[in-house]
Point group: C2
Chain length 418, copies 2
Amino acid sequence: MNIKTYMQTIGENAKKSASILSCAGTGQKNKALIAIAEELEVSTSELTKENNKDLEQGKKNGLDSALLDRLALTKARINTMIEGLHQISTLADPVGSITDMTMQPSGIQVGKMRVPLGVVGIIYESRPNVTIDAAALCLKSGNATILRGGSEAIHSNQAIAQCIRKGLATAGLIEDAVQVINTTDRAAVGELITMKQYVDIIIPRGGKGLIERISHEAKVPVIKHLDGICHVYIDDLADPEKAINVTINSKTQRYGTCNTLETLLVAKTIAPAILPKLQSLFNEKSVELRGCKQTREILTDINQATEADWDTEYLAPILSIKIVDNMNEAIEHINQHSSDHTESIITQDISRAQYFVRAVDSSSVMINTSTRFADGFEYGLGAEIGISTDKLHVRGPVGLEGLTSQKFVVYGNGHIRE
Amino acid sequence: MNIKTYMQTIGENAKKSASILSCAGTGQKNKALIAIAEELEVSTSELTKENNKDLEQGKKNGLDSALLDRLALTKARINTMIEGLHQISTLADPVGSITDMTMQPSGIQVGKMRVPLGVVGIIYESRPNVTIDAAALCLKSGNATILRGGSEAIHSNQAIAQCIRKGLATAGLIEDAVQVINTTDRAAVGELITMKQYVDIIIPRGGKGLIERISHEAKVPVIKHLDGICHVYIDDLADPEKAINVTINSKTQRYGTCNTLETLLVAKTIAPAILPKLQSLFNEKSVELRGCKQTREILTDINQATEADWDTEYLAPILSIKIVDNMNEAIEHINQHSSDHTESIITQDISRAQYFVRAVDSSSVMINTSTRFADGFEYGLGAEIGISTDKLHVRGPVGLEGLTSQKFVVYGNGHIRE
């Protein structure tokens, strides 16, 4: 079968499954999630066997150790997948909820019902656990899923796919509700992101290169999760202790995450009191500091930050620092250089905090809080399929609700328009 | 100046205006709306003069009388524009509202704040009143607007644009908050729909051809307002009187609107009792009926409906009728042939009504209600910039809220992640 025909079949199956899933009860969806968890449990040796094929092939192909580590399906990781399924089964089902029901002057009642998006296409790189996480979130939110994992994980993903199919069958749900593409041919991705008649949304998970390429070529709408160039602004009315704690935590709690601080902005009148203390703490953690000209007048031994630094997501123990005249200059810098992910102001002044929250155009805007909190679990979403840096449909951490839409429902009693 | 440079300047101005507008107070935005209304009032003769230029040119170019009628800015239409501005000034401002504020286990407070989308591009055809309607809705929702009207209305639109600029200035708002493109060169549209760095969303208003062309070529997300192939399903448990009233109203209250009924589905056991009565009422209104084979066994003198009829938006006094075995067959037909706009079930059975509302995947799903109610005003949105047939971001009638998004706001007190 050629790729086009194969993907058309996948698309048709998904569309058909979506209409069944959209009416599936919460209990039945939960039953499927638990059944999939049980299949993973009893298939551990099979999963390990198939994963070993990928690992051996990966070694032959010269994958580096970091990639091989991400590819490995250890017993601990299988258990995490199983726990994840149980956890998602306990979350509230957004589908079917009706809100904003109002009585209109004509006598009709109008409200909004949450409904699944339909068919979700997920494109991801090496980690096979994404297969379960993504499938579980889409299933719980009533969406059919088409998954396309990295070619280096093909055997692992197919083995997981078998567990999913069996679990769906056990719960009496259509097995094609979750389909994992079984070819490594890149043409399959090209089809997936352009099959508008079958696919409602694409969620790419992976590096910036992957996401930009897919956004550029897709005809289906994409929920993008691009880079996080996150800022903390230390206002001159900040509490110095909070400023220091939040800054250190935002940068050093983890270096490789998208909600990690990359550029620190400091009001000029507070800078002389704050920056030396920060420097000694950052030195302890071996974080390289790069400063603007004014910063280097205080911290004389650090490197000069170039224009490129303001637009760089380091994902590493490097921090760029800029001194600004006031909050407005900070907001201007943020709206010009941030990737619209997460920004935090440190201030004790309520009016400034209120203004900052309103004026900064990012998916999360914080007051006196570490940027590391920008996360679906910390926000109480229960789970997260990504963090949207788009403005339409959903911004910030995307949980179950982000995988749904709202339609209008209208109740009348023979009402006609005059 | 070439088109590319011109449009870049427009884009930069819009982006700059958007950041000012996003923080503008509701009072100031309302003041601008009223000031624009006053400018229209005092500029009536100027508007008429410029509109006459378009009308004369239109006649020379051989525009048909329907198009010329849509192009005409009569005194009554100017008054409607003025009323519209006053009405939008009275609507609640969605921007800045914070909902779902919750306290998380970590101690942070997380909520969602409504924010403008940023820069909205509107592309529309001949009616110059759209210039005011669209500008007013975008302004109230804190968005900067770039408007591109039909070339045949260029003088009228530029005259309206002048009134808008003056009104914005009177209210102390940036004049570039609303920009009307002053060239009829089609290349300007090509730039507008691909300037992702400046434009956040495109809303095309016009015929299906325009909307499909723009969706196909755009790099900026598009809120589409495509056709309305709307259905009424008369269940065998319907109240016959409601069934007849709602069907007649859905089809004949207006023929040319997107929420007009185009295909009637009737359960086979109720069809013999209902269809002859409907036929005589439709005959009185000269509506042509086209039926499936079973329908023609009851209404023997009507034409056969072809497969193409099920996929046609007539926008005319024509109705296709299909007899179905049961509700499931009706839902299947709808999900295959509808344009996801509006569908209504007529039934007295609450379980069927509940199931229909859940299973039909359209932007409005109704119970015992005329499809003609699918409208922003009837739904209580106060105004409407279009009816989205998309699934992402916003479905159905789009009011002020549809022109906004939500970002996360997080309040801490020096909180750091452990």
